[in-house]
């Protein structure tokens, strides 16, 4: 136990052990994505894919990514390795911090956002992958009157305590209810199976989801 170990760059850190995302680890992507020239703008998924394909060497530089965020055009300049979660929370001119970072490796669902209507872990999604998409976050599901049907039901059922997992649950259930406005309990539970809550508020969240489904209205 007295071996001298030289550990350059703290390579034992969990951050470096992160698993592949979409078959492409952040680091692998970082190595491969440098071909995106600094200042270039990614507007579509096709551009993003091309950028990945044509990439060669060079880790420097930033790309500008354009997407719709909660219905409004958004433009953010980030390094290609930046996750969508980090872009939202840290890199936007006006950071959108409703989406929470909890595990940063796809275990807990707190960072769930909708990309073109599909729930994704934004910590496992590169910001450049959102180019040309419609991103919706917890800040953007309510209508003009303040809360969506689901949010109102979660308020009524006390489907939140510390509130840190809440944005993730709101987004997972919103996606579920948009696909099946008449979802039943099993489906709602399954929709939340990728979300963790430590305060133990699951029951009230499920009740709220069911009430929203019963309200027969499509959540906005």
């Amino acid at each position: 136990m007295t071996d001298r170990t030289r550990d350059e760059g703290g390579c034992k850190r969990a951050a470096d052990q992160r698993a592949a995302l979409d078959g492409l680890s952040r680091r692998a992507f970082l190595k491969g994505a440098g071909g995106v020239a600094a200042g270039s703008v990614l507007r579509s998924k096709v551009d993003a894919a091309r950028a990945q394909d044509s990439a060669e060497a060079g880790l420097e530089g930033e790309v500008t990514v354009e997407f719709m965020l909660n219905g409004a055009p958004e433009r953010v300049k980030v390094e290609p390795r930046t996750t969508l979660l980090s872009a939202l929370r840290h890199h936007l001119d006006r950071p959108a911090t409703g989406t929470k970072e909890v595990c940063d490796q796809g275990n807990c669902g707190a960072c769930t956002v909708l990309v073109d209507g599909e729930p994704v872990y934004s910590c496992m999604t590169l910001a450049v992958k959102a180019a040309g998409t419609e991103v919706r976050t917890v800040e953007g599901v309510a209508g003009a009157d303040g809360l969506s049907t689901l949010q109102s039901e979660m308020w009524a059922s006390d489907g939140l305590q510390c509130g840190y997992c809440t944005p993730g649950f709101v987004m997972s259930l919103t996606a579920c209810l948009e696909k099946n406005p008449a979802a039943e309990m099993d489906e709602l539970r399954a929709a939340c199976s990728g979300n963790l809550c430590r305060c133990g508020t699951y029951t009230q969240v499920f009740e709220a989801g069911l009430a929203a489904a019963r309200a027969g209205k499509k959540p906005r």
Binding site: T5, E8, T82, S86, M154, V170, T201
Partner: protein, 737 residues
């Protein structure tokens, strides 16, 4: 003269709980002997005791609520730490490459020798989180691994590396009369014995420990911290910033879970302050998930050997126990055996075994779930040995009458009386087995005179209530508004509740379930005084006496006329009216009982345990917000279920590494594990004072679930977590015996 015999004019002695580092210590204090400003009668309340939606619900549901981790400041740098990946090591860090890395403004080695696995060894600060990660990677670290002791075997081995100078085994404490206990055992009709163990449990706060410091040089700083004690921020931060306490403002608007782990500024906070002081720039330092698992405290593990005996009539006569606590470099905590049950003769031996792991700290009822798990198991074993009804046997041996009444009601709610296995466990034949188990707990609670609550009414009709307390997700902000609204006849949304700022009145840190019993009486005092002020103002306008004025939702009414709320407020002086409330001992209760039952289904082919239903009855004195109380009770049962079936810190002691420092490998209960919950405030508790209930409902669940598994199929599991492999092994053993 002893304190009990002493008397002081105009004063009275009350029992209360003081929280020291999150652990509650009971003590007696002198308070003014005044008539308390009682709450309205339960039946007269529009708000208190009802199901109130949280006043901060919309902010949390729309992402508008700002947590510490969400604070963004001009020129702010993101700081991150590097954790020691070994059990223990000498460390040399070359920070030059990190300092030169893009966007990095700060890199520093923190220590030369680590004391535990995962201790922070270096810190960097850079312009973005990604650049801070780069800076960490650019640190060139030389680790000279030192011998470590990460589990009990390594810690007690001959020549083991010392965790503390005085040795790795704490001096054992012996209690009880050994001869009397031996004599009592000789009289027992049945004696059972078992070894029980519980692993280290993590808090898993979803918002990690962390702090954002707004300091740019100069004489003032604002420190945002994810903490359970707003008023603990200033002192800790001022030291690290080189400022006076009065120059630091602490803010905790919302915080993402604490569960006992977040008292004071903690290491992340002092580091953030030190960097901010040096760079004169705002610093954002939140632990990452790995640090949260390795260096932010935990519920200590324990090994317990328990022997107990009972008479043929089912009276527990004797108990003998030996307990080891595993709290890393800390001493661990354990509530002691026998736990809650009457045992006339008992002896016990307690010690701590120290290891190179981060220290345990307070976690929701520190030391109690460990003791409860062993005690409920042994009690259940005795009932089984005597072939007695598990509920009746408990009632016969509990001290607290409230538990006996609760057991009857909980048994009914879980379906005990229709259950076939009341006096003997089910078998292991067939595919599935259903069982029911029970457990009890109680908590001292008790408030203390620390909170100062300010209520203000402005001539424009606005009402505010403020105190520098914090809302951990328990609903503090909501009852702050509700108590004032109830007293002044206002709607709930007619009172602006403000919390989480050291510029507001003093308040205690949230530990030992003491927030509500300390705070709510002071809120009621301020509200009652304000009602007096408003009634006097109305009386003057209405030409009657203040006693004749009634405040109601549309304003004030007297015998000869009425005023709208706005008219009443307009009659106040231009600066409005303000009152400050102090703690009232009569409005806080001490001692709350809790009883739980669990119903499980055991898959006899796979060993999988599915909790189907859990029932909890919880005393809380006067309930303030039934909705939030029920949520807190369900949450506690969820954490107990998780402790029983899933959670365990895993390490590789040989390699000296952590194996469960993320949410992939450290499992907590998720949506598919959640059973039907029946969470009830015990309405037989008619005391007028209030209590906090953060701790008691988290205690008995694990014992109840283990007992339910035994009740289902006759296998006694004594080592948490009760994973399928353990259950299946026990089933196979029983089949073959």
């Amino acid at each position: 003269m002893s304190r009990l015999q002493e008397s002081r004019p105009g004063k009275k002695l009350v029992k209360t709980t003081r929280v020291v580092n999150g652990i509650d210590v009971e003590e007696e204090i002198w308070v003014d002997d005044l008539e308390s400003p009682a709450f309205k009668l339960r039946e007269d309340c529009r708000l208190l005791g009802k199901r109130l939606k949280r006043v901060d619900g919309p902010a949390k549901l729309t992402g508008a609520a700002e947590y510490t981790s969400d604070v963004r400041l001009e020129g702010m740098l993101y700081a991150k730490v590097l954790l020691c990946p070994y059990g223990r090591a000498n460390i040399t860090v070359d920070v030059s490459a990190a300092q030169d890395s893009k966007g990095c403004h700060y890199a520093r080695q923190l220590l030369e020798e680590t004391k535990y696995l995962g201790q922070p060894v270096a810190v960097v600060a850079a312009e973005t989180p990604e650049l801070a990660e780069d800076a960490l990677r650019a640190l060139v670290v030389e680790y000279e691994a030192l011998p470590w002791a990460l589990d009990r075997d390594q810690a007690i081995a001959e020549g083991a590396p010392l965790v503390r100078r005085r040795g790795n085994i704490g001096r054992p404490r012996d209690d009880g009369d050994a001869d009397a206990t031996a004599a009592a055992f000789a009289k027992c009709a049945v004696v059972v014995e078992g070894e029980y163990s519980v692993p280290v449990q993590h808090h898993v706060c979803l918002e990690t420990h962390g702090t954002v410091v707004d300091f740019r040089g100069g004489e003032d700083a604002i420190v945002y911290c994810s903490t359970q004690g707003t008023h603990t921020i200033t002192g800790d931060a001022a030291d690290s910033l080189g400022l006076r306490n009065s120059q630091v403002r602490g803010i905790v608007q919302h915080m993402g879970g604490g569960f006992g782990s977040k008292f004071g500024l903690e290491r992340a906070g002092t580091l953030a302050c030190e960097i901010a002081r040096e760079l004169k720039r705002p610093i954002h330092l939140m632990w990452n998930r790995e640090a949260e698992f390795l260096t932010s405290g935990n519920r200590s593990g324990a090994w317990q050997r328990v022997r107990a005996g009972a008479s043929a009539e089912g009276v527990i006569l004797a108990m003998d126990s030996e307990v080891e606590r595993y709290g890393g470099v800390g001493g661990g905590s354990h509530a002691g055996l026998p736990y809650l049950y009457k045992v006339e003769n008992a002896t016990r031996k307690h010690s701590s075994v120290y290891m190179h792991l981060d220290t345990n700290c307070a976690m929701r009822a520190p030391g109690h779930p460990q003791a409860s798990f062993a005690m409920e198991g042994v009690v259940d074993e005795l009932a089984a040995a005597l072939e007695m009804d598990a509920v009746e046997f408990r009632k016969q041996n509990l001290r607290n009458d409230a538990h006996k009444s609760q057991l009857d009601r909980v048994a009914k709610l879980i379906g005990w009386h229709e259950h076939p296995n009341r006096t003997s466990a089910g078998g292991v034949d067939g595919l599935k087995a259903v069982g029911i188990g029970f457990g009890v707990s109680q908590w001292g609670v008790g408030g203390s005179p620390v909170c100062q609550v300010d209520v203000r009414v402005q001539p424009d009709g606005s009402v505010s209530a403020e105190v520098g307390s914090q809302d951990l997700g328990t609903g503090t902000r909501t009852y702050l508004a509700a108590i004032v609204a109830e007293e002044l006849g206002r709607p709930l949304d007619g009172v602006q509740a403000r919390l989480g700022d050291t510029r507001m009145g003093n308040a205690n840190a949230s530990g030992g379930s003491t927030t509500t019993p300390s705070l709510a009486p002071a809120i009621q005092d301020a509200a009652r005084q304000m009602r007096g002020v408003l009634c006097a103002a109305a009386a003057e306008t209405l030409g009657c006496s203040a006693e004749e004025v009634v405040l109601q939702p549309d304003g004030a009414r007297g015998p000869n006329g009425s005023l709208t709320w706005l008219e009443l407020c307009a009659s106040l002086p231009p600066e409005g009216a303000s009152t400050r409330g102090k703690w009232q001992s009569d409005l806080a209760v001490s001692g709350v009982a809790c009883t739980q039952a669990a119903k499980v289904r055991v898959d006899l082919l796979t060993g999988r345990v599915k909790v189907e239903k859990m029932v909890c009855l919880q005393e809380c004195g006067r309930p303030l917000n039934r909705l939030a109380l029920e949520s807190q009770i369900r949450g506690a049962m969820t954490q107990a279920l998780s402790y029983a079936l899933l959670e365990e810190r895993r390490l590789d002691p040989r390699l000296g590494i952590a194996l469960s420092a993320d949410l992939e490998t450290y499992k907590i209960a998720g949506s598919l594990e959640i059973p039907e919950f029946v969470a009830l405030v015990d309405d037989e508790d008619l005391r007028e004072g209030v209590a906090g209930i953060g701790e008691p409902p988290v205690i008995p669940g694990a014992g109840a679930i283990a007992n339910a598994i035994y009740n289902a199929c006759g296998v006694r599991l004594r080592h948490l977590p009760l994973t399928s492999d353990k259950v299946l092994n026990a089933i196979e053993q029983r089949k073959s015996s």
